[in-house]
Amino acid sequence: MLAPVLVVTIIVVPWVVYRAYREVDDGFVAEWAGAHGLALSPENRPMVSWYLRTARLLRTWGAIGGLLLPTFCALAWSDHLEILGADSGGGVNPGDAMWIFVGYLVGALYAELALVRPVDQARRSASLVPRRLDDYLARRVWLAQRWLGGVVALGILVSLALPYDERFTVPSWVATVTFAAFVAAFTAGLEGVQRWLVRRPQPFTDPSLMAADDAIRSQSVHSLAGAGVSLLLFMGGGVCVLLAASDLAVLRWTMWLPAVVATVLALVACQYVGHRAWRVRRRADRPSETASA
C-alpha cells in the first residue's frame, strides 16, 4: 500500500507547489474580483493581488505541512515511513488525511492575519455599517458547520453504547468522550474564529479599499468554512465506519454508504465551499431589513 501512495505523493506534491507559485496576473485578479462583485481600482488592486498570492501559497504549504506532519511524527517515534496513513510496517491509518485539512485551515487563517491594514493612529475611522457573519458567509454554510459538528459528536457518543466484536479494538470511553468533546469544541471554535475575522478592525475610509477588504474577509471566512466542513465530513465518515463495525446488523449494512459519501464530500467540500464566489451583503444596502429589525 505504501509504494503507490508514495509515488502519487511524489508526483502530486511538486505539481501542487508549482500551481501555488503560478503568477497572480491581472486576468486572475480581475476574474476573482468580478466573481466577488468587487470593482478594482488602482487603490485596491495591489492589496487584492497580494492577498490572492499569499493566501494561495499559505494554504498550499499548510496543506503540505499537514500531509507531512504524520510522516515526521512516525519517523521520529516509530522509525516507520508513513504517508497518508500507509505505513511501511503494513498498517493503515486513513485518519492521517485529516491533517491536510487542518494545515489548509491554518494556512488560510494565517493569510488573513498576515494582511496588514494600515491604521492612522491619530485619526481613526470606521464604517457605520454593521458587519455580521451572515453577510460574509451563506447562513446555510455556517448552520451546516454546526449541524455537522453536532452529528459527528453525537455519533461518537452513540458508539459507546453499541456492542462490538471482541476482535475489534474499541477505544476507551475516556478517549471516546474526549474526542466527542474535541469535535464539539472544534465546531464552536471554527465559528468563533469566523465571527472574530468578521469583527476585525476595518480602518479604511476609501470605499474601494473597504469593498476589497470585505471581499478578502469573505474569501478568508469561506476558506476556513471549506476546510472546516471537509474536516467534519472526514471525521463523520470515520464515525460511520466505527458504527458500521458494531455488532448491530442494521448499522453494519447501512453505515458504509454514508461513510463513503461523507469521505467523497470531504474531498470536494474544501474546494466547493472554500472557493465559492460570494458578494458581501452589507445591511445598509438593504433598508427594508434594517427598518424591520
Binding site: 491604521v119 485619526r123 481613526r124 464604517s127 454593521p130 469583527r199 478592525p201 475610509t205 434594517t290 429589525a293
Partner: protein, 123 residues
C-alpha cells in the same frame, strides 16, 4: 457613512461620535430604522475602549436619536430632541463645512471661524 475620531481634538471621543451620528441622522444620511454597528465592532474599528462607544450610544439614546433593542442591536429612532436646523440653514452649513474640510481645517478650527464670522456679521 464613515465615522472619524481625531485623538488630537479637544472634544472627547464619545462626544465626537455622538455629534457625528446625530449629524448623519439630522442630515438624512442615516435613515430611521437603520441598524448601527455593535459597540464591540465600532470600538475595535476606532481603536477605542468599549465603554467610550457605549457612552456615546447612551448619550444618543437619551437624546432620542437611537433605541437599544437588546441583542437586535442599536436602531436609529429619529433626529435628536429639541430644535433642528432648518433645511436651508443645514445646506448652508454643509457648504461651509465642505469648504473648511477642503482648506484642511478641523472641526475646532471651523467652529472658531464660524464664531468670528457670525460676530462680524453683527457689527
Amino acid at each position: 457613512m464613515i465615522l472619524e475620531v481625531d485623538s488630537r481634538s479637544t472634544v472627547p471621543p464619545y462626544e465626537q461620535l455622538r455629534q457625528q451620528v446625530s449629524a448623519l441622522v439630522v442630515g438624512g444620511v442615516l435613515a430611521v430604522g437603520a441598524r448601527l454597528p455593535s459597540i464591540r465592532q465600532l470600538a475595535n474599528d476606532l481603536g477605542l475602549a468599549g465603554g467610550t462607544v457605549a457612552r456615546a450610544y447612551r448619550e444618543l439614546e437619551s437624546d432620542g436619536v437611537v433605541t437599544t433593542h437588546g441583542r437586535h442591536g442599536t436602531i436609529v429612532a429619529g433626529p435628536p430632541h429639541g430644535p433642528s436646523p432648518s433645511p436651508g440653514l443645514l445646506a448652508a452649513a454643509r457648504r461651509f463645512a465642505a469648504e473648511a474640510r477642503e482648506a484642511g481645517a478641523n472641526l475646532d478650527d471651523a467652529v472658531a471661524a464660524l464664531h468670528v464670522a457670525y460676530n462680524l456679521g453683527r457689527i
